[in-house]
Each structure stands twice: as structure tokens, then as C-alpha cells.
């Protein structure tokens, strides 16, 4: 009986966020099948930890589990250590010509997707959580287990990269 209630409260609180979970996993893994596997594995983990969850909002909690599941999955299949990108990019931040606003505004889905996929994974997850899931810096910092300042700088650099990517893509396409 206890488990039955537990399953019901879990289903009611967590499963509505499967779309958000899938979106994050899909952006992190880069393909449908792996995204599904990660979400499924994360859901199992989430149910296991559900008794210990006492927060108000299950969405960031669940997304943190999805993210951690993704990184364990990544470690399992890759022998290379995860690259930390914080601290890079300083050199190209300055001196890059200002992107044109119209050009950013008119970027189509295809190009934006390519630009996002081109980002290092830490930057990509920050952008996805911020722009697509509309989480606060605090929530993103909790999910990624880093200080808020790190999220702030990842977002700034990620956006700079996106702008550069979109500007370069548009320049290449000029006749």
C-alpha cells in the first residue's frame, strides 16, 4: 500500500516533467535513442531517491538526476576524461566584430541547432536550462553543482560563441 501511494505521488510529481527531461537529455546526448535511455535510467534513479526528496519543485530535482545520469553514461562509454572548458575563450571575447542584430534575429532553426550542438557540453546544458527550461541561475548552479558565478560566466561565453557561430555562418553564405 505504501509503495502504491509512493508510485502515485511520484508519477504525479515527476512524470509531468518527462518532456523537460527528454529535451535536456536529447541536447546532451545528441540523438533520440540515447536520450530515451538516459531519461529511462534517470527515472528509475529518481524513483529510488523519491522518498528522500523533500523539495517543493520536482522539476530541477529531476533534471539534476537526468544530468548526472548523462555524465555517468558518458563516462561509461568514453575513456577520455570530461574536458573542462571554464577559463577558455577569453582571447576571442575581445576584438570580435559586433554581430549584426538582424542576422541573429533571422537565424533559422537548423542553424541555431547546429550552433548549439557546436557548444561544449557544459555551455550547452547551461543554455538549454536557461533558455529552453527557463530556470534561474541558482537552479542551474544547483543542477550543475557549481557556483552561480560559474553559470554566469558559462552563459556569457556560450552566448558569445553562439553569436560568433551565427555571424560566421551568415558571412560564409554571402555570395
Amino acid at each position: 500500500m505504501l509503495e502504491q501511494n509512493e508510485l502515485k505521488t511520484f508519477n504525479d510529481a515527476v512524470l509531468p516533467h518527462l518532456d523537460a527531461a527528454y529535451n535536456l537529455a536529447r541536447w546532451l546526448t545528441g540523438n533520440d535513442q540515447d536520450a530515451e535511455d538516459v531519461v529511462q535510467e534517470a527515472s528509475l534513479r529518481a524513483f529510488k531517491y523519491w522518498k528522500g526528496f523533500s523539495g517543493r519543485d520536482a522539476r530541477p530535482w529531476f533534471l539534476a538526476i537526468v544530468r548526472n545520469t548523462f555524465y555517468s553514461w558518458l563516462r561509461q562509454r568514453s575513456t577520455q576524461p570530461a574536458v573542462t572548458v571554464d577559463g577558455e575563450l577569453e582571447e576571442i571575447d575581445d576584438g570580435f566584430p559586433n554581430p549584426e542584430r538582424a542576422l541573429l534575429q533571422n537565424a533559422d532553426r537548423h542553424l541555431l541547432q547546429a550552433a548549439l550542438e557546436d557548444l561544449p557540453v557544459e555551455f550547452r546544458e547551461a543554455i538549454v536550462l536557461r533558455e529552453l527550461e527557463e530556470l534561474s541561475y541558482k537552479e542551474i548552479a544547483d543542477i550543475a553543482s557549481v557556483p552561480i558565478g560559474t553559470i554566469m560566466s558559462r552563459l556569457a561565453r556560450a552566448r558569445k560563441r553562439l553569436q560568433i557561430y551565427l555571424t560566421n555562418a551568415a558571412t560564409r553564405n554571402l555570395p
Binding site: L15, D19, Y22, R101, D108, Y137, L155
Partner: protein
């Protein structure tokens, strides 16, 4: 605040993550700094491109069922939660079709005159954000905002406080749309500002009944009630803006 300091804060500023002192510092700086202002505009442009880019991946229809099955298998002592998938899917499809048809119909009906009018609404919204002139009277108290309008307009717009419903009343402003002065009531939802433009149906620009649309990255919802036209505009997502509209119609 120096340019260097400001540049470090611009992302947090655009994301609505700065405290009021920080926001004020950035706003004061960008008033006199074309470079930082351009950065802010580019960040807005990028954000709206991402929001309009339909970049979310939708979970496959089978995912929820697969997850439920996996959890049940791993926890055989837990009983399945009752839920009829077939009906839920059928119902969701109908809702989707109706919504899509309705959106297409509304968009087709839009005349060029309306387009121009919509552009005016959006411009007013953007101007109010860019020029840091979102309100003439700043108050979360409807008893302050409502009387403020009465001295300036020949009608009385509603200024319902929706703070406890998730939409904070920020204040009011006089604006000029379609050749007449209109009331702009301003709400805030997380970092997003919402402008509600109100004017009497008989005297202002035609609002063409009810509808919703997305233009240039902004969502707009409009309706008419008791002889007044209402236009809501914001960069807030359409679902939440619809919540706001529903509360205002109550």
C-alpha cells in the same frame, strides 16, 4: 560603473538576475554607452531567436509508457497508477488540431492594417523596455494605479493586482497607439515584463475580437470585453501569457 564591469554583468542583466542596484547601475551605464547597448540588443536578439527557434525536442509519445513500465518492472511491489493512455492521446490530438486550426484561421484573417497596428503595439512594448520607461506610476497597489489614470484618460482601465496569482502589478503608463492615448498597465512574471494596453472599443483602433499571435519573438493576446479592447504583449511564453489573460478576464 565602468564599461568592463558592466560587460561582465550584461548577461545577468538581460536574464533578470541582478538585484535592483545592479540593474540600475547597468541601465545608467548603457544610456551613455553605445557599445554596451549594442551588446544588450544582441543578447535580446539571440534570446528571441532561440525562443522562436522551436528548439525544444519533444519526448516521443511512447516515452511515458516505457518509463512507467520500467519503474513497475524494477519495483514489482508497487502497483500501476491508473491512467488511460489511448484516451489521453486522442484528446491531446484533438486539442492540438483545434488549436492549430484556430491559430491558422486567426493569422489568415490578419489584414495589413492589423499588421501595422500590431507592429505599433510591439514597438510600444519594446520602447518601454529599452528606454527604461516602463511606468509613469510605479506601484503594485491597484488603488494607486487606477486613480492615476483617471486624471489622464476619459475612461478608467482596470489595474487588477495579480501578485498572489504570479503576475506582479508593476505600475501604469500612458502610451500612444493607433492615434490615441491608451492606458498601459504593466505586469511582471519572473524577469519578463507584460504590457496590457486598454482602450474603449468605440474610440480606438479596431482590435478584431479575440486572438493570439506571435510576432518578432513577442507573444500577443487580445480580446474585447464590456466595451473595452485589451491587448497583452510580452516576450513571456504563450502558455503563461494565456494564464495572465485568463486571470485578467475573470
Amino acid at each position: 560603473m565602468s564599461c568592463r564591469e558592466t560587460k561582465d554583468l550584461l548577461n545577468a542583466y538581460v536574464d533578470g538576475e541582478l538585484d535592483s542596484a545592479g540593474s540600475l547601475g547597468v541601465e545608467n551605464h548603457i544610456k551613455g554607452c553605445a557599445s554596451c547597448l549594442a551588446d544588450v540588443e544582441n543578447l535580446h536578439a539571440l534570446a528571441s531567436a532561440i525562443h522562436n527557434g522551436a528548439l525544444r525536442f519533444n519526448a516521443p509519445k511512447t516515452l511515458k509508457r516505457n518509463v512507467e513500465t520500467a519503474i513497475r518492472k524494477a519495483n514489482p511491489e508497487a502497483k500501476p497508477a491508473y491512467f488511460n493512455w489511448r484516451w489521453a492521446t486522442a484528446f491531446a490530438s484533438i486539442v492540438l488540431i483545434v488549436a492549430a486550426t484556430w491559430t491558422i484561421t486567426t493569422q489568415r484573417a490578419a489584414s495589413s492594417q492589423q499588421t501595422q497596428f500590431v507592429n505599433e503595439i510591439i514597438s510600444s512594448h519594446v520602447r518601454s523596455l529599452m528606454a527604461n520607461h516602463i511606468t509613469d506610476v510605479a506601484s503594485s497597489d491597484s488603488h494607486t494605479v487606477k486613480p492615476w489614470f483617471s486624471g489622464k484618460l476619459d475612461y478608467s482601465p482596470p489595474a487588477t493586482d495579480l501578485t498572489d496569482r504570479g503576475f506582479r502589478l508593476v505600475g501604469g503608463r500612458l502610451d500612444y497607439i493607433g492615434g490615441r492615448s491608451v492606458a498601459a498597465v504593466v505586469y511582471q512574471r519572473s524577469q519578463h515584463f507584460i504590457n496590457l494596453f486598454v482602450w474603449p472599443s468605440s474610440t480606438g483602433p479596431a482590435a478584431d475580437g479575440e486572438g493570439e499571435m506571435t510576432r518578432q519573438g513577442y507573444n500577443l493576446i487580445h480580446w474585447s470585453k464590456s466595451g473595452m479592447n485589451y491587448w497583452l504583449v510580452s516576450e513571456l511564453n504563450l502558455a503563461e501569457l494565456n494564464d495572465c489573460a485568463r486571470l485578467l478576464k475573470e
